[in-house]
Amino acid sequence: MARVVVDVMLKPEILDPQGQAVQRALPRLGFEGISDVRQGKRFELEVDGPVDAAALARIHDLAESFLANTVIEDFTVKVEEPAEVAEAAK
């Protein structure tokens, strides 16, 4: 079993009120030096069977047609390496 991660972020030209709210709060928390914050969604898909090119293509379609609305959002699809999976599980 492998994990495929789909990250969905608002397109750069689109307002991201959530990211802005976080960014505006940072100075109050004593954090300086972060010039921009964007907030998006992360989907972790556990895929049965091998994550070959065909499987990735299907997940790409899924992301494009369902997980993201490409009118306002961009997405990326990545296979998570086992090492990362292990680390993330920490």
């Binding site: 030209e13 307002l15 609305n69 009118v71 306002i72």
Partner: protein, 752 residues
């Protein structure tokens, strides 16, 4: 679009042969030529941007203007009207020094493309119109129409739209107190997302969108300007989808309701301290609209330095800044000595505010960028003197055949059994079923002044805690009626909203409307539009309720197929003490149920014809506005004198639908007797207008009857509130449980 060198006014004058992308921006050749004629030279890129968005169908009303004039010409004398058509929203006097502003607008196209954000920003836009009048927004309503309930795309669009309306309105703290949800395959691909808002202020707080007083400062405040939604609403809503050119690809914005909430609070605080001379919200056409309208309505001119506009994206060209439809922005005109205090209030609410220009004593709107003058226009030519089309219109040739296809001739139920089955089918049909799954996603309680909300006949808000003064609002539209006869269909929409307001005990005062139609370039659609406007204007004149403003949404069609003509009408009413409001629910067993009005065989466009026969043909119910007025007077008097404990207007679905709703809401059944002279089927399903049912305590029966008799309103005793079932004597009995199941489970089963 940015070119080097900067396309200044000077540069434009010196380079008459430069080709500008006027066609891509949606202008017609003759329109572009008019711009050149007005200016006496070619426009600069920035000027072209302004003219193209402001002359779009959405902003200029170029196809509808010639018809809309009737609302003014036929406006009834009304003492209530304080501000009429032409401002951000109309304002009505409701007594005790209070004024109320309300308006309905469409966000149809964006909501199809991105249901959540499209609908959310629709709420945002209408609320800014209300604040711009000087009012505190107190409630929203949302008349919605979708394709067939079981169509897969409805399942994509509806939940997003509802979540968006809720997400934005709930976050602003505005109770949602009414609306509609209608399914019809004619809206497939063209859902109608209309949103309305009401605001309250004291008379002296009314503000107008005008810039006057040379030297006064123009302050832009709210969100930074970004590259999203450039030409979005204006151009998107002015075209059908299938001819969208690449440059006009859907441009949808993301709303930030939190920012808007801050905008409300800081604007109201600035009003309270009398810091604002004129104000305008930024909606469609953004800064182009705000600056040209403020300048055009005022006495002087205006000079703006575009470099001072706070940007989210530093690479934006001046044309883009002028066209951007970034949400949650407002523009105020403030006297110089009050600017500091104004900015301080913005700062208190963490709202970015910047002086971007000032009022001049000339009559030009001048805009500067990087030191060069890129706009120099007479603002009236941008804002108010756009093209006006007398589009050809013609009654479609299919209209006769449609009207001849008489619904009164459809096969009727042959047995009591069949009658009973059809009642169940009606009550559980998507259009008649409970909309609780939807309306429970809206906050009804916030602000603590909600007297009535869904599923009452109208929403009602208390506006004065001491005296109990309140306002009521209902929105209605029936595209099926309007398709059969647009003139009377529009009147029926008004009549229904008017009746809904009166049913709750409030006196109808004024009207706003949202006119949703197909492409004005189709003469048949244009005819529907012309007829609907004429019908509405005539009816408003007769009912004494002026149109205070509204919105037109055209191009709601895919290819050749236009939506049903769908005029949606909002009626605002006033009630001097909300304590005497009349609810829909049956209150007490033993009370007598009266049917007010006349019932005829009228099935054209009815819910019965749709649900049982999937049929649309014939004529809609007859309109009798004098009767509507009388019915309203009786309902209001009865509420004032405590003669009735509940009331429900009859509309689509007819009497049986109304009785079932009152019974389910009150948890009390009804025993009905078919009155003499009517057959059970007509009694239950006819959609004759001008009717309502009321529940009268026995102690009031004589008094109530006397009142109706004296005034000449037919009142027929049809039954009694009783038991745990709806029984039609000699026909059938349906338990409340059975009814509740079909009524409440339909929508969740389709959508959840």
């Amino acid at each position: 679009m940015s070119r080097t060198p900067l396309d200044t006014v000077e540069h434009a004058a010196a380079t008459p042969d430069v080709e500008l992308p006027w066609a891509e921006l949606g202008l017609k050749k003759d329109e572009y030529e008019r711009v050149v004629e007005i200016l006496g030279r070619r426009p600069t890129g920035a000027e072209l941007a302004m003219y193209s968005v402001m002359w779009s169908e959405h902003c200029s009303y170029k196809s509808s203007k010639v018809h809309l004039r009737q609302f003014g010409e036929k406006a009834p004398e009304s003492d209530a009207m304080l501000v009429g058509i032409g401002e951000n929203a109309g304002v009505v006097d409701v007594g005790q020094g209070y004024a109320v502003t309300f308006k309905v607008e469409s966000h149809n196209h964006p909501s199809y493309v991105e249901p959540y954000q499209g609908a959310a920003t629709g709420v945002g836009g209408i609320v800014r119109d209300i604040i711009a009048m000087g009012a505190r927004p107190v409630a929203v309503v949302d008349p919605l129409r979708f394709g067939a309930a079981d169509h897969p795309d409805t399942k994509r669009v509806l939940p997003g739209v509802v979540a968006g309306i809720g997400g934005y309105g709930n976050c602003l703290g505005l109770p949602n107190i009414g609306g509609e949800v209608v399914f019809d395959s004619c809206y497939q691909g063209n859902p109608l997302v209309n949103a309305g808002a009401i605001g309250v202020m004291r008379h002296e707080d009314i503000h107008l969108a005008k810039a006057s007083g040379a030297g006064n400062k123009v302050v832009l405040y709210g969100a930074r300007t970004g590259g999203d939604g450039i030409g979005g609403a204006s151009i998107l809503a002015s075209e059908t989808f299938d001819d969208a050119k690449p440059s006009k690809r859907p441009a949808v914005q993301v709303g930030d309701p939190f920012q808007e909430k801050l905008l409300i609070e800081c604007t109201l605080e600035a009003f309270e301290e009398k810091l604002v001379v004129g104000i305008q919200d930024l909606g469609a056409a953004g800064l182009s609209c705000a600056t040209s309208e403020l300048a055009s309505n005022g006495s002087g001119g205006m000079r703006v330095t575009l470099d001072d506009v706070p940007l989210r994206d530093s690479t934006l060209s001046p044309e883009e800044i002028l066209m951007s439809e970034s949400q949650e922005r407002m523009c105020a005109v403030v006297e110089p000595e009050k600017v500091d205090r104004f900015l301080e209030i913005c700062e208190k609410w963490d709202v970015i505010a910047t002086v971007i220009g000032e009022v001049t004593d000339g009559d030009r709107l001048e805009i500067y960028w990087h030191g060069g003058k890129i706009v120099d226009v007479d603002p009236r030519t941008v804002a108010h003197e756009g093209p006006v089309y007398e589009r050809p219109y013609a009654r479609p040739e299919w209209q006769d055949a449609l009207q001849a296809d008489d619904a009164n001739k459809l096969p009727r139920p042959a047995s009591s059994e069949e009658l009973r089955d059809q009642v169940l089918k009606l009550v559980g049909s998507p259009n008649q079923a409970s909309k609780k799954w939807i309306t429970s996603q809206y906050d009804h309680f916030v602000q603590g002044n909600t007297v009535l909300a869904q599923p009452e006949d109208s929403g009602m808000i208390r506006i004065d805690e001491e005296t109990g003064l309140g306002v009521a609002i209902a929105t209605d539209g029936n595209g099926r009626y309007a398709k059969l006869d647009p003139y009377h269909g529009a009147q029926l929409a008004l009549a229904e909203a008017y009746r809904n307001v009166a049913t709750t005990g409030a006196k109808p005062l004024a009207v706003s409307d949202c006119l949703n139609f197909g492409s004005p370039e189709d003469p048949a659609v244009m005819w529907q539009f012309a007829e609907a406007v004429r019908g509405l204007a005539d009816a408003c004149q007769q009912l004494g309720t002026p149109v205070t403003g509204g919105n037109v949404s055209l191009y709601n069609q895919t290819g050749e197929a236009a939506i049903h003509p769908t005029p949606v009408v909002a009626v605002l009413g006033v009630i001097d003490d909300v304590a005497r409001r009349t609810p829909v629910a049956f209150q007490e067993e033993g009370q007598l149920i009266y049917l007010l009005g006349d019932t005829r065989e009228e099935f054209g466009g009815s819910a019965w014809s749709q649900v049982v026969h999937d049929h649309l043909g014939g004529l809609p119910p007859a309109v009798d506005l004098e009767r509507e007025r009388l019915l309203a007077e009786i309902l209001i008097s009865a509420s004032r004198d405590g003669m009735i404990d509940s009331a429900h207007d009859l509309s689509d679905g007819g009497l049986v639908q109304a009785v079932v709703e009152s019974a389910l809401l009150g948890g009390k059944g009804a025993r009905l007797v078919v009155p003499d002279g009517l057959d059970a089927f007509t009694f239950l399903f006819s959609e004759s207008a001008g009717r309502a049912i009321v529940a009268v305590p026995r102690s009031e029966e004589v008094r109530f009857n006397d009142m109706c008799g004296a005034r000449g309103l037919p009142a027929t005793r049809i039954g009694v509130v009783d038991g745990a079932a709806v029984e039609v004597q000699g026909e059938f009995t349906l338990t409340l449980e059975e009814l509740r199941t079909v009524h409440e489970e339909t929508i969740p089963a389709l959508l959840a």
